[in-house]
């Protein structure tokens, strides 16, 4: 809201320092955005300033100079001078000139019309032109300028129609017909729909209610008679219409923030007075008003104890009463026993409850009076397990050389469809795209990380190893269900399958999972066949790990081998022991034995480990994989040699060579029997 210093001074004495006033306004609710001097803005008179104040959406009353002047009057305890419009009497009754039919009260709760006959269109007076220019409004003629002037004075938008253009001398407020069109005063054509409210004559729409007038009924040089509209249009209707038409005006801005229901008539009389003063003519007797009875608002009880309970300070009754009455509240019952009651002024629709009055008192009294030495009692707060876990995860992953990325939660169709191991259900989508075509709520973090790796490669030839901890949105059973929001940790790394698997193993070790990681190959597109695995901890599924198919990598223009993985955080947490517990280490010497078996290609390490562990039992402290050889000439087709080391140790004594030999021979016979694996000499 731009206000002119000079204009304001008509309503309240401004002999204070301007900058001090700006600060006080900012600290009482009208944030100061900036001020232009005549040096900055040639449209300003030499002794004027244009002050830009931010008005919050609940304070439509401050979208006119009078409202701002009232705030100043309250802050500085000064008198507010509101002009009283006077209209000369006329013998022509308005009912003989015009009829108004309101068919759309949901959008227009009150419509008033006055008629002025015999005006002469010309330039508006210099003082009015100067005032409008000072707040950046262009001048048109003595009628249009008067409507703009009164709007900037009290915040009530007004519209003047050329009476001659109103067919059937009748104004109809109605929903627009489907595909009805109107040429607005900006001389562009707008197509309307039945959700919009129009002001029409007997035949056509003359204006889009509260948004913009129509070109056909515009006031021109030849206009002699006028219809002056002062009305209330509902915020929702105006906002939706303005949005749909992409047509925002100072009028729509004010209707969206509500106008003073009582002030409508004041504005109508005020504009008629100003028009007659500069354009001549006579105002027909009376007014057409579709809803002249404005229900008063209910009294609000205010208790001093409540002020103290909410603000933490006491404010005396006299000060409270002064502030509220200066703001326009009527004191129904003055304070007695710490309680009073007030009726809010019609222009303050935002004051309906005790809490609202307390805010008014607080902001005028000054928030600087609220102390900063009122500590809250101590209370314990513990760190969430989730936060401890993610901290550990970040520690492991950064130590492994991965950096944390944050990527958008909403992705493109292409990204969404590239990989989706968690679910086959179609992704949820937003109505509007978040970023360049991105509407799908992601079902996995992996494609976003691949994309980030690809961007790094494309822009700087960096092979980025990245991870992210974020929600994925697994769609529910029906498209209307809320999705399951699952926290996962996703990662992308260069290198082979086992590099990535090693990171996951270290991660689980650091989190103290009760079970070791196990994997099961699963079929899925986008991965090297057989190299996408489901990762589990014991019986519970944890996530996925897979080598990205070279064809898919080509689409990303990514070189080398790339592995992606994604684990469910709740899954990890459920199996974790975040507070490590010591396990007593045996003090007796251990024995190392290397074993080299030849076996069928189909025997997995997993199978071998299970057999060996079962054969040795407790004394097997570790079983380390060394390598695999393949030599078809020596061992036959589809056979391999697997070398591993066992560390054998007893907790209750020294493991002798004989003890170890006995265990080894058990391993040999079990491997032979269960896996058809032969020990190599």
């Amino acid at each position: 809201m731009l206000v002119s210093w000079k204009w304001l001074s008509q309503y309240v004495d401004l002999n204070m320092d301007r900058e001090e006033l700006e600060t006080r306004l900012a600290l009482s609710g009208l944030n100061h955005e900036g001020t232009e001097t005549p040096a900055d803005n040639p449209a300003l008179a030499a002794d004027d300033f244009c002050i830009d104040l931010e008005v919050t959406s609940n304070r439509g009353d401050c979208l006119g100079h009078l409202g701002v002047a009232r705030e100043i009057a309250v802050l500085y305890d000064r008198e507010l001078k509101v002009p009283t419009p006077k209209l000369p009497a006329s013998s022509v009754p308005i009912d003989s000139l015009l009829r108004v039919d309101n068919q759309f009260t949901e959008a227009c709760p009150r419509y008033t019309a006055r008629v002025i006959q015999g005006v002469k269109i010309g330039p508006s007076p210099d003082w009015m032109q100067a005032a409008l220019r000072s707040v950046g409004i262009g001048v048109v003629n003595n009628v249009v300028d008067a409507t703009n002037y009164v709007m900037m004075e009290c915040g009530q938008p007004l519209h003047a129609f050329d009476y001659a253009s109103i067919a059937d001398q009748k104004i109809v407020i109605r929903p627009a017909a489907d595909k009805e069109s109107i040429t607005a005063i900006d001389h562009r054509q707008y197509e309307l729909d039945p959700s919009m409210c129009v002001i029409a004559d007997g035949q056509h729409a003359s204006a889009v209610a509260g948004v913009m007038g129509g070109a056909d009924s515009e006031v021109t040089e030849t206009t002699t008679d006028l219809v002056i509209e002062a009305a209330i249009f509902t915020p929702l209707s105006v906002r939706r219409t303005a949005r749909k038409l992409k047509l925002h005006s100072p009028s729509s801005f004010r209707f969206e923030r509500r106008v003073d229901p009582v002030g409508v008539d004041w504005a109508s009389r005020r504009v008629c007075q100003l028009i007659v003063e500069s354009a001549g003519g006579t105002v027909a007797d009376g007014v057409i008003d579709t809803a002249a009875d404005i229900p008063g608002s209910d009294p609000i009880v205010l208790r001093l104890s409540e002020i103290e309970r909410i603000l933490g300070i006491t404010i005396d009754a006299e000060q409270v009463q002064r502030i509220l009455t200066a703001l326009g509240c009527q004191c129904e019952r003055p304070f007695s026993n710490g309680e009073a009651s007030f009726v809010a002024p019609s222009w303050r629709h935002d004051l309906t409850r005790q809490a609202d009055l307390i805010e008014e008192v607080a902001r005028i009294h000054g928030y600087d009076k609220i102390p900063e030495d009122s500590p809250i009692p101590v209370a314990p707060s513990s760190k969430r397990t989730f936060d401890s876990a993610t901290e550990k995860i970040r520690r492991v992953l950064t130590a492994a050389g991965l950096s944390e990325a944050m990527t958008p939660s909403v992705v493109t169709k292409k990204l969404d469809e590239s990989l989706s191991p968690w679910t086959d259900r179609p992704a949820l989508a937003t109505q509007t795209a978040m970023l360049k075509g991105a509407k799908r709520l992601r079902r996995t973090l992996m494609p976003s990380l691949l994309q980030a790796r690809a961007n790094n490669w494309a822009s700087a030839s960096i092979e980025a190893n990245l991870f992210e901890i974020a929600h994925i949105y697994v769609p529910g059973k029906t498209p209307e269900d809320l999705p399951e929001e699952l926290y996962t940790v996703g990662m992308v790394v260069g290198g082979d399958f086992f590099t990535a698997k090693g990171i996951l193993e270290s991660l689980c070790e650091m989190l103290g999972t009760k079970h070791p990681i196990s994997v099961t190959p699963v079929p899925s597109s986008g991965f090297v066949p057989g190299q996408l695995v489901r990762v589990s901890l014991g019986q519970s599924q944890l996530g996925y790990l897979g080598v990205v198919d070279p064809k898919t990598l080509k689409q990303w223009k990514l070189p080398g081998k790339v592995v992606v993985a994604e684990l469910s955080l709740p899954g990890l947490l459920a199996d974790s022991q975040l507070v490590p517990q010591q396990v007593v280490v045996s003090m007796f010497p251990s024995v190392e034995r290397d074993l080299n078996f030849v076996m069928a290609e189909s025997v997995r390490w997993n199978d071998l480990e299970t057999v060996v562990r079962a054969a040795v039992g407790d004394p097997l402290k570790s079983m380390a994989y060394r390598e695999t050889y393949r030599d078809a000439a020596k061992d036959g087709k589809d056979r391999k040699r697997v070398l591993f080391s066992m560390q054998l140790q007893r907790d209750d004594g020294t493991m002798s060579g004989e003890d170890a030999d006995a265990l080894v021979s058990r391993v040999i016979s079990d491997c032979k029997q269960k896996l058809d694996a032969e020990l190599l000499g």
Partner: protein
């Protein structure tokens, strides 16, 4: 040659060589001794090695072992003398060793600056007894609007200002209708969820991603993070709010920080204020705050006459960017290593 003779010759050689090498006091003397004992062609070690052939076959293993020992001892003495006298003049340092060459760095990853900021904020608030809470990002209008005192006709619910999800009826196309689910536009939804499930006292901070359809530029992104604090108890006042925020600012910025309240408007608080910090002689907007609106308490089943509370909210990005001198919010979500590796 008997083993005995071989071994005693070897002993003599070893003693002599070590003495000579230890005594060598300059490079020339060292070089002469080196050639004499371990020279490739005529060195004494080579000579005695040739004598091995004359030792009886059954003794050769022992002789060989002893020879090896002597060889290692002499070579060690050579190396020691070389080190002492050698190469780089007085200090004996290897001239090829350049300690100013860069180290071999382990590849260590980086933690995202937003995570670092959130950890920092959570830790400060934790010291004042606030526990972290989270909630879903896909919300219903009840939690995102209604319970927060944002009525049906409020502009904040406009489809153009929210990411409503497409439904079967609206289709996936750009219909811009108020749907039954949306990506939350604020983390206040978490406060509602916590209050619905717990009784006061409540002291939480809610954290997470929020979404608003802003065209991305240097200071806007359609996805960002909020941190909101909520304290509800029997006697909570605006003075408590101001105190907590001042302590917070002093902790976060270091030094004693001045704060001020400016009136503002949020549907879920009454009174509502903007909070500014005086930082480097300038008032910096920190975020919004206020006393919980009685309607919010009623929506979650609390009696506004029995409890009072304050809430505040701040944009994590803004604090993060200011702290680290980040100029463009889009960098935070680029996944670009040239950016990430700086933190």
């Amino acid at each position: 040659m008997s083993l005995q003779n071989f071994l005693s010759a070897l002993d003599c050689l070893q003693t002599e060589a070590i003495e000579t090498l230890t005594a060598a006091s300059d490079a020339d003397a060292f070089e002469a001794a080196r050639v004499k004992y371990v020279g490739q062609k005529k060195g004494a070690l080579k000579d005695i090695q040739k004598q091995m052939g004359k030792v009886a076959a059954e003794d050769r293993k022992n002789a060989g072992m002893r020879l090896n020992e002597a060889k290692q001892a002499i070579e060690a003495a050579v190396a020691e003398a070389q080190q002492r006298l050698g190469g780089g003049g007085e200090s004996g340092a290897d001239p090829t060793f350049d300690p100013t060459l860069p180290g071999v760095r382990p590849s260590v990853g980086h933690i995202h600056p937003i995570t670092q900021t959130i950890t920092h904020l959570t830790e400060i608030m934790g010291r004042m007894g606030f526990e972290a809470a989270e909630g879903p990002e896909v919300e219903d209008p009840w939690h995102n609007f209604v319970a927060l005192n944002i009525p049906e006709d409020h502009p904040a619910r406009d489809p153009l200002d929210n990411f409503y999800l497409a439904t079967a009826e609206s289709g996936s196309e750009n219909r811009n209708v108020e749907g039954s689910r949306l990506l939350r536009s604020q983390t206040s939804t978490v406060q509602i969820r916590v209050m619905e499930n717990r009784q006061p006292p409540i002291r939480i901070i809610s954290l997470g991603r929020v979404y608003r359809p802003d065209d991305p530029d240097a200071t806007h992104f359609p996805m960002f993070h909020q941190m909101e604090g909520l304290l509800v108890d029997t006697h909570v006042t605006m003075a408590n709010l101001k105190t907590v925020l001042r302590v917070f600012a002093t902790n976060y910025l270091g030094g004693d920080v001045e704060i001020r309240f400016r009136p503002s408007f949020f549907p879920f608080t009454e009174p509502s204020v903007e909070v500014d910090f005086l930082w480097d002689g300038q008032w910096i907007e920190f975020g919004g705050a206020g006393m919980v609106d009685p309607n919010v308490f009623r929506a979650v089943g609390y009696d506004p006459d029995q409890v009072s509370g304050f809430a505040f909210g701040l944009g994590v990005e803004r604090l993060c960017m200011r702290r680290h001198g980040i100029k463009d919010i889009r960098d935070l979500y680029s996944g670009d290593m040239r950016f990430l590796s700086q933190f």
